[in-house]
């Protein structure tokens, strides 16, 4: 340190403000409102939910403590495992497709296109449409009696009879995945477009001078640069998609049979059709480890990017 400067000992460098009582109190006071909100809005209901899941509570009637009984019942409930399987297929299938489509569209929209602003606005429309409206519209489009998709396919001679897209166990899950993809692609497109726009143009020029073609530039420049954005967008989207309720509830209600029953749909049915609140909450909480893992991963990635 120069003259007149302050010389810090190594121990002083490592001593954080928390070691000073006044700073500690100030810090605690400053985070206190946030703590109150988190504990009050999230912590207390979560604890209540956990305690509820340990009872045989039914709506309108008092519950009694059953310990881990509901969770034990879940383990032996084939419907629960089917819902878990469907949830994973729905979430990971939709996220993979959204990532691919979003990446492709981001690459296109990053180019110097005529009316580029207009295209970007159009791509944003599915994101702006309310989920319920989107689900109802798609349900009509998929209809086998008066839906536009079957009408076009029939007119084109590609099918002989209308296909019950939402009514067949072979196609229903894929059909609802497609709705989620349509709705979620703009999020990926614009997240990745933002990432593309911060890549230094000189990198492309240097690569071109070295003889790298478009594919090579995408592979060696774009993908490494976008990797963090892709991972974070995928993690967030996985959490949202796993929890998606409206699309499936409105279009198939979880059917036909149980072909599109996911964990949120099963939770709803148990709570409001069977009135088994304790079991429904246990169903919902059983998926919590997946979310906790994803949230921890996302938080670490965010923290890594901030550093």
């Amino acid at each position: 340190m120069g003259e007149g400067g302050v010389t810090l000992s190594p121990s002083a460098l490592h001593r954080g403000p928390s070691q000073r009582p006044v700073d500690l109190i100030t810090g605690l006071l400053m985070v206190a409102p946030l703590l109150v909100v988190i504990v009050g809005v999230m912590g207390a209901p979560l604890l209540q939910a956990v305690s509820l899941s340990l009872t045989d509570k039914r709506i309108g009637l008092p519950g009694t403590f059953v310990g881990w009984g509901n969770y034990g019942r879940l383990v032996h409930d084939p419907l629960f495992w089917l819902a878990v399987r469907n949830s994973f297929l729905y979430a990971f299938g939709a996220v993979a497709l959204k990532l691919l489509a979003g990446f492709g569209l981001a690459l296109v929209l990053n180019e110097e296109l005529p009316w580029r602003g207009l295209w970007r606005a159009i791509i944003l429309i599915p994101w702006a449409v309310p989920e319920l409206v989107a689900a109802l519209t798609w349900r009509w489009m998929y209809s086998d009696t008066n839906g536009i998709i079957n009408a076009l396919l029939l007119r084109a001679g590609l099918i002989e009879f209308p296909v019950p897209w939402l009514g067949s166990p072979q196609t229903a899950l894929a059909a609802v995945v497609l709705i989620n993809v349509w709705k979620g692609v703009p999020f990926f497109t614009f997240s990745l477009l933002g990432g593309l726009q911060v890549i230094d143009a000189e990198l492309y020029e240097a690569a071109a001078i070295d003889g790298a073609g478009w594919a090579s530039q995408v592979r060696h420049i774009v993908l490494p640069a976008l990797a963090p954005v892709m991972v974070i967008a995928s993690l967030l989207s996985t959490i949202w998609t796993f929890n998606d309720f409206t699309t499936i509830f409105v279009t198939t209600g979880g059917g036909p049979a149980y072909a599109t029953t996911t964990v949120p749909i099963l939770t709803y049915e148990k709570a409001f059709w069977n009135l088994e609140l304790g079991y429904a909450v246990a169903t919902s909480l059983a998926a919590a480890p997946v979310f906790i893992g994803l949230i921890v991963l996302a938080t670490r990635l965010f923290a890594g990017r901030e550093r």
Binding site: R58, I59, G60, L61, R139, Y142, S143, D144, T145, N146, F161, P162, V163, P164, W165, L166, G167, S168, P169, A172, T251, T252, G253, G254, G255, P256, A257, Y258, A259, E269, A271, F272, W273, N274, L275, E276, L277
Partner: protein
Amino acid sequence: MRAVRPVAVLFSLLVTLALAWGASAADRLVIWDKTEYIPFYNEFMAQFVQAWSEATGIEVEYTVVPPRDLITKLMTAVESGHVPDIATVEVGMVAQLAGMGATTITADLLAAIEAQTGDRFSEAAVRLVSIDGQPRGVPTATFPAALFYRNDLLEAAGVEPPQTIAAFREVARRTNNPRAGIYGAGIPLGRSGGNDIEGFIRNLFWANGGSVFAEDGRTVVVDSPQNVEVFQMLVEMYHQDKTIPPGALSWDDGGNNNAYMAGTAVMVFNSGSLWANMADMGHPLLAHTGATLMPAGPQGRYNLGGGNTMVLFAGGNVAAAERFIRDFMTPEHYGQLLPRMAPMWAPVLEGMKDLPFYQDPVNRVWLEAGQINVNVGYPGPATPWAGEVLSSQVLLRALQTAIVDGVPPAEALQNAKREIEAIMAKY
């Protein structure tokens, strides 16, 4: 003085709050109503509520909720203890709410309305809202159901409107034309949370001599041979006859209405809402539409009774709620509403069956249809568990496994029996 002033201010504040609280309890009424298929109902009720509030000085908080959301909203309200004073629910919910101890017994209120109007509630309407012999709401409408058919297509196929279940299947076969996008039987088979298909399956069970519960209301007989026959027939109609549209597996309660009005279904079962809606919109197919009673089986004709009921919640502003309902159920108000709701609504007061609409021979079917209505627990009493079995769509899910997963009908119904017994064990 300084010490006295804050105390005085605090005292005034407390007095004001106490008065406001007292006033709000006595002069406030919370009503949750359902969105009705015919929009006129909601317009009429909004105007009535406003006029009633101005006339009585009682503030009314009036909320209209889609029927499916109303179930969720009410369940949440019962659980949290923040119930409305009045809710208009479909009769299927009456047993469940009574089972939770949430609603009041309304025998005195029904008697007061009868005394006031000089009319009598129909026995069938009161029976639908009675649990253990005690009325648990005020019926405002019953929904007569019928079989709607395209008389032009039946005529072209040279067949008469079906009067039996066997004839229904045959007419569906004869009029079926999937290549033209026309299916003989528009039966909604989707898990929408609606009760149309649950009712339809029960109607077929009863007509065929089966049922879900025995007369004691506690013995589950859903896996009877008669019921297996019904399941087998529906599976065959779907897979072999191909008279049910494949997409019906994702239809909700409006799916059959939409298919009929789109001209893609020859026959559908429905309440009079379809007729009323087509008349309301001047639909061209109405001229080619006929309606007849539910087809009969070996044991006769049956229909799971549906309808609207105003229920009053225990602990609420019962005095104001009773006053509101009494003022609503008068010829000046209810009598004005009913003709606009026919034939979706059938009257619950005997005297109103003399309305000009029901004197037209074409419309007599709606009054006759009301005569075959039975409760959800038939041949036993309406019970909370019978209500839960209905709202859980146990029968539909069993039927779906038979249609979609190829589970033999007998096995599907045995599975349903286990599920129903598990539901009953909770009561």
